[in-house]
């Protein structure tokens, strides 16, 4: 059981996250309707304003709040209740994140920050928008302290033992997050805030973009790794099997810390001011980050196969029938994994140096991150919510609710398939992302995109219905479902009794290697950008 006070902490994060999901999802549907020319926006709202809010609320706020809610519950479950000063730090973090979110959204709604969630300079938002982002990030530091300190406390109290896998993975994810955010903190604190306040007249655009993408790529791994935590730890228990390998699971998370950060240039492959050889070096490092995902794929199938064989299923693929297909805790994660096949392929294509020119800033890219974060990650998160909310509220996920939850998951799967397929295919035809309308004076090239945009609106409609259904189910699971004990599934590993190689829990080594790689990949190009800068830019407010 999760301690009552920790459960409350976790639940508040979920409620705030789901509020962001509802508003962000609604705005997402509005975008597809505007773009397919089905509606025009009311209340003087403009497309780019709601696009900014959609990105901030879903990519930054929903994900971060959900992830911390999940981590608090799991860390409390596996290492014992949070000590009171750590819980206090966690609440401070929650308040800072919430205040930052509200302030940021208010600035967007006042049309003072229509800069999209990537806020590329020299478009210049109100300083309060950048301060809001800073509050959000500072909030995550308080939250990270609570979890990392809890993990350290556990290790001190249990010398010589290997830490619980859940806590280890949570810490690995947060180590990645903290190193990654150094980039965005630097650019917001030393570039955007002084510049938007008027203390600095000009901004170094290339530097701001480089620091942003130093953060921007590991950001996507910050979303993905909590889903991997559920795959590695929760799913094996749900299917009645074992975690394939505790030590390999830890190793894969450590490899993500090493290789997900020194790779930001692969988001800047077509831009000037960075020499091609440095871009290519980071492309190589990007490919290295594929290896831990290949390890994860093997571990998942292995745990399925071993579980099936234990249950007596024979033959090469007999175990496939032994999987609990009607259990939403499994089905949601499995569909998430399946989505990661085209998502992974798309990611490799995006990062393949000049191949990026085929898809860069086309709606293919939007399709890509809607099947990574918007399918792989969120389907797994839906699945977590279905057992974790009742667990924390002392209720049960009944058979009937499980069936309804499966329906919601399928609805999402179909909606996202329609929308993201349309995005990928029309992106290949050149359809740009982040664009209100693609009429282009009726140009014949643009006219072939119209039917795809209708398909996006159809997919978007299904997705919003799926969100509505999810929220109704969650409210029932929190308020009206039968009282009882819902399991918090934590798997045990096949190699549970084996000693863990000491190096796998020696953080100094891994953080040290991570910094060496970062310095190798970034020092010279960043020195170039700073010491021999292009002429700076004043701020523009083109909205």
């Amino acid at each position: 059981m999760v301690n009552r006070l920790d459960a409350r902490l976790s639940l508040y994060h979920f409620y705030a996250a789901f509020t962001a999901l509802l508003i962000g999802g609604l705005l997402g549907l509005l975008q597809t309707l505007v773009r397919s020319e089905s509606i025009t926006l009311p209340f003087k709202l403009n497309y780019y304003q709601i696009l900014t809010a959609h990105g901030v609320l879903l990519a930054l706020v929903f994900t971060t709040l959900f992830i911390f809610g999940f981590m608090y519950a799991g860390v409390s479950r596996t290492t014992g209740e949070l000590s009171s000063h750590r819980r206090k730090s966690a609440w401070i973090g929650f308040i800072l994140m919430t205040v930052g979110t509200v302030l940021g959204v208010v600035m967007i709604l006042m049309n003072k920050a229509t800069v999209l969630y990537t806020f590329y300079a020299p478009l210049q938002a109100s300083p309060l928008f950048y301060i809001a982002l800073a509050l959000l990030i500072v909030g995550t530091y308080f939250a990270s302290y609570a979890i990392i300190s809890q993990y350290n406390g556990w290790r001190k109290a249990n010398p010589g033992q290997k830490s619980p896998l859940f806590a280890f993975m949570a810490v690995a994810t947060l180590v990645l997050w903290i190193i990654a955010t150094l980039g965005v903190v630097a650019t917001v604190l030393f570039q955007f805030i002084p510049w938007s306040l008027g203390f600095q007249e000009e901004i170094n655009v290339t530097l701001s973009r480089t620091l942003f993408w130093y953060f921007g790529h590991p950001l996507v791994y910050f979303w993905l790794l909590p889903a991997y935590m559920a795959w590695y730890i929760v799913v094996p228990k749900v299917i009645g099997g074992k975690i394939f390998s505790d030590s390999l699971a830890r190793l894969s998370f450590l490899l993500f810390i090493l290789f997900s950060i020194p790779v930001g240039f692969h988001h800047q492959l077509t831009e000037p001011g960075i020499s091609e050889s440095w871009k290519f070096l980071q492309v190589i490092l990007t490919f290295a980050v594929i290896l831990p995902s290949l390890m994860t794929a093997f571990s998942m199938f292995a745990s399925f196969e071993i579980a099936g064989r234990e249950k007596g299923y024979k033959g090469i693929f007999g175990w496939f029938k032994g999987l609990p297909w009607s259990d939403v805790r499994f089905l949601s994660a499995f569909i998430g994994m399946a989505y990661f096949i085209p998502a992974g392929a798309g990611g490799i294509i995006n990062a393949s140096h000049q191949m990026n020119q085929v898809v860069h800033n086309t709606i293919w890219v939007t399709g890509h991150f809607h099947i990574t974060i918007g399918a792989t990650v969120i389907l797994t998160f839906f699945g977590i919510a279905y057992w974790l909310i009742p667990h924390l509220k002392g209720r049960v996920l009944t058979k009937r609710m499980n069936a309804l939850a499966n329906f919601q998951i399928i609805l999402w799967t179909i909606g996202m398939f329609i929308m993201s397929a349309a995005m990928h295919f029309s992106g290949l035809l050149g359809n740009p992302r982040r664009t209100q309308n693609t009429d282009y004076n009726g140009h014949e090239v643009a006219s072939q995109w119209g039917s795809y945009e209708t398909a996006m609106a159809v997919g978007g409609t299904l997705l919003l219905f799926s969100i509505f259904m999810f929220l109704v189910l969650i409210i029932r699971l929190a308020k009206t479902e039968p009282i009882g004990k819902e399991e918090f599934p934590i798997g045990t590993a096949l190699d549970e009794e084996e000693k863990l190689p000491k190096i796998l829990e020696n953080w100094k080594v891994w953080v040290g290697i991570a910094f060496v790689l970062i310095l190798v990949a970034y020092t010279i190009p960043v020195m170039d950008i700073i010491q021999d800068p292009a002429p700076g830019s004043p701020g523009y407010k083109f909205w």
């Binding site: 096949i341 392929a345 294509i349 191949m355 085929v358």
Partner: protein, 40 residues
């Protein structure tokens, strides 16, 4: 016979896993090659 017994003890049977990941790898490779050949 003893050799067979030992290999069973050492490593679980994962032929299904191996074929599954190979299919995944093949799909990814096909998509990459398709874009490279078709659009570059």
């Amino acid at each position: 016979m003893s050799r067979k017994k030992q290999s069973n003890h050492d490593e679980p049977k994962l032929y299904g896993t191996f074929i599954s990941v190979l299919i995944v790898g093949l799909l990814i490779t096909l998509m990459w090659v398709g874009i490279f050949v078709g659009f570059m």
